[in-house]
């Protein structure tokens, strides 16, 4: 293209700076329909994923007829191609998004491939978490060096994979949690820049869902043998933080679906409350003798305190300082949950009562709000909460079948009546 050559020449002769030429190119790229650019990138990345995986599988056949050296050279080949590609893009095509993403994705994948093949060829021992960590560390710099959004997303996904392999299960490693937080801290500035520059972009949206998920999984890595009860409080607080953050962003952004914090906070908080509404939850908690041991050196306690304080500050800021309306009762669930755990610890009475009353109240509140706003979705969501609560109680209460049956019939009639009334209201307004 004439423009490309002219721009290169202008940079060479010092007419314009490299940064200016990059801005001009970016401007031209922006002029293309964004769907086209996105599709080209998507298919490019998919192509690279398939080709690199394909090459690795062919090499993984472990060709017996080749001597060791030949097999080793083959294992390094995709890596070398990736390195040469990234080197070329860094020198010549740094302003082209497509080239940056494709070359970086190729190199990022081939690092893992090379290590896996060398392990196979030389019969090297090793566990999956260690392999994943090495792979992530060797590819981490690519996120910022090019920079590459695809590698950042792969890095986040890889970190979560590492967390689930290393931090959970029978032989989970004590240090894995700390490595995982290090990995998340590394990718955090990149997420921040995505949030600032392209907060509704495709990759930013993946991060808006992936990052809260990663934090939730990461927190679970610190569930130790003692102080089990504190982790419930830590989780409830983190979910409340997500919910409030999501509520706040939601009021500032048009892309509601991109709001992973809001949905994970809402669904997670509800899930915890439903778990807490079972009578057996208290038994489960008390099975651990050291439910609420107060020990300064215990990580679960420290996490619970920090997250509770953060949630409380968020709550005061959102509804006290900013006077956010309408009030969101779910944002307060972390306090309720903490109180329930405390009750379970202290008394013999049922700590499940507050959770049941709270969910019932929440259901009614959502129902009333929905009716006021004439929203079918909210009315049914409110009724849905009450219905789920009724189903849960079906399993663990001593209520007679007659009474349970009557409750179900009442909720069912409630569903039908509320929807019928709403349809009538809409008709009269139409």
């Amino acid at each position: 293209m004439a423009l490309e050559k002219d721009l290169d020449k202008m940079v060479e002769e010092g007419v314009i700076s490299f940064e200016t030429s990059r801005s001009i190119r970016n401007w031209y790229e922006q002029q293309q329909p964004s769907d086209n650019r996105r599709l080209t990138l998507l298919f490019g990345v998919l192509g690279v994923l398939l080709v690199v995986s394909g090459i690795m599988l062919v090499l993984a056949h472990n060709w017996d007829s080749f001597p060791l050296t030949v097999k080793t050279v083959w294992a390094f080949l995709p890596l070398v191609v990736g390195q040469v590609g990234v080197g070329y893009v860094l020198l010549k095509k740094r302003d082209k998004e497509w080239w940056r993403e494709i070359s970086a994705t190729w190199l990022a994948l081939s690092i893992g491939g090379c290590i896996a093949l060398i392990s196979q060829i030389y019969h090297l021992p090793g566990e999956l978490p260690d392999f994943l960590l090495t792979w992530l560390l060797l590819g981490a710099a690519l996120i910022y060096l090019l920079p590459s959004q695809v590698v950042a997303v792969l890095f986040l996904a890889g970190s979560v994979w590492y967390a689930t392999e290393a931090g959970y299960g029978y032989n989970s490693s004590l240090y894995a949690g700390y490595y995982f937080w290090g990995l998340l801290l590394w990718v955090l500035p990149f997420y921040r820049s995505l949030w600032v520059k392209k907060k509704d972009g495709f990759f930013a949206r993946l991060f808006h869902f992936g990052f809260p998920a990663a934090l939730l999984i990461g927190l679970g890595m610190h569930i130790g043998n003692s102080g089990y009860g504190w982790m419930w409080i830590a989780y409830a607080s983190l979910l409340s933080i997500f919910y409030m953050l999501g509520t706040f962003i939601k009021s500032h952004s048009d892309h509601k679906i991109s709001n992973g914090y809001y949905y994970s906070g809402m669904l997670g908080s509800l899930l915890l409350l439903f778990i807490g509404s079972f009578v057996d939850f208290r038994k489960e908690l008390l099975r651990e003798k050291s439910l609420l041991i107060i020990d300064g050196g215990q990580l679960a306690l420290v996490l619970a305190i920090i997250l509770s304080l953060l949630a409380l500050s968020g709550f005061i800021y959102l509804f006290g300082v900013k006077k956010f309306t309408p009030f969101k009762p779910l944002a307060f669930s972390f306090v309720l949950f903490a109180a329930m755990i405390w009750m379970a610890h202290l008394s013999n009475g049922s700590a499940a009562i507050p959770a049941n009353l709270y969910i019932l109240g929440l259901g009614v509140w959502v129902l009333v709000e929905g009716s006021r706003q004439k929203s079918f979705f909210r009315i049914n969501a409110g009724l849905g909460l009450i219905a789920i609560l009724a189903i849960c109680r079906f399993f663990d209460t001593e209520l007679s079948f007659v009474l349970r049956g009557l409750i179900f019939i009442t909720v069912g009639i409630g569903f039908a009546l509320a929807n019928y009334q709403m349809i009538q209201k809409k008709k009269t307004h139409a």
């Binding site: 472990n62 060829i121 030389y122 019969h123 090297l124 021992p125 090793g126 060797l138 710099a141 029978y170």
Partner: protein
Amino acid sequence: MLKKLLIPGIFLLLVAAQWAIPLDMIRSSNLILTEGKPFRFKCAPIDPNDPFRGKYITLSFEAEQYLMDSALAPQPGETVWLRMTTDSAGYAKIASLTENKPENLGDYMETEVSTYLMEGDSSLVFFTFPFERFYLEETKAPKAEALYQENLQGQNATSYALIYLLNGEARIQEVYLDGKPLSELLKNP
């Protein structure tokens, strides 16, 4: 000027690191095989229900357990160092166990405790040796698995893996069935 060199500089460092790790894996592996002390680990039958997992055979060893005083037994998941010696037939066996890394790693091997069984005052501790996989060409692996299993079922089973130990690390070199290398058996059945 400095800014211009920064990105290529970081990239070159990255390339170097991406080469260094796999090359070091090869170097340490070769070092153990050339300078390490060889041990013959007698193979034991594996659970026949354990499904064949792709392109390697899963090995199990007779020396993978050790009877010791319950009070001293390590916990599952713990890293321990085993001092290896040979029995009268020339096969590897565990001479002692320590939970602290020995200063002189001589004939020691680093491994992980998988589980243990209490037998009165004693505990039978089981390990997961770091050389339980022997990779083969994918089309030959099922056949190798069958040969290996068949050999272990026999009356005079003499299958063993040749393992080299150096500085606490172990590398598998070959699996032998009736004194013949598995890779040879697969070439000339």
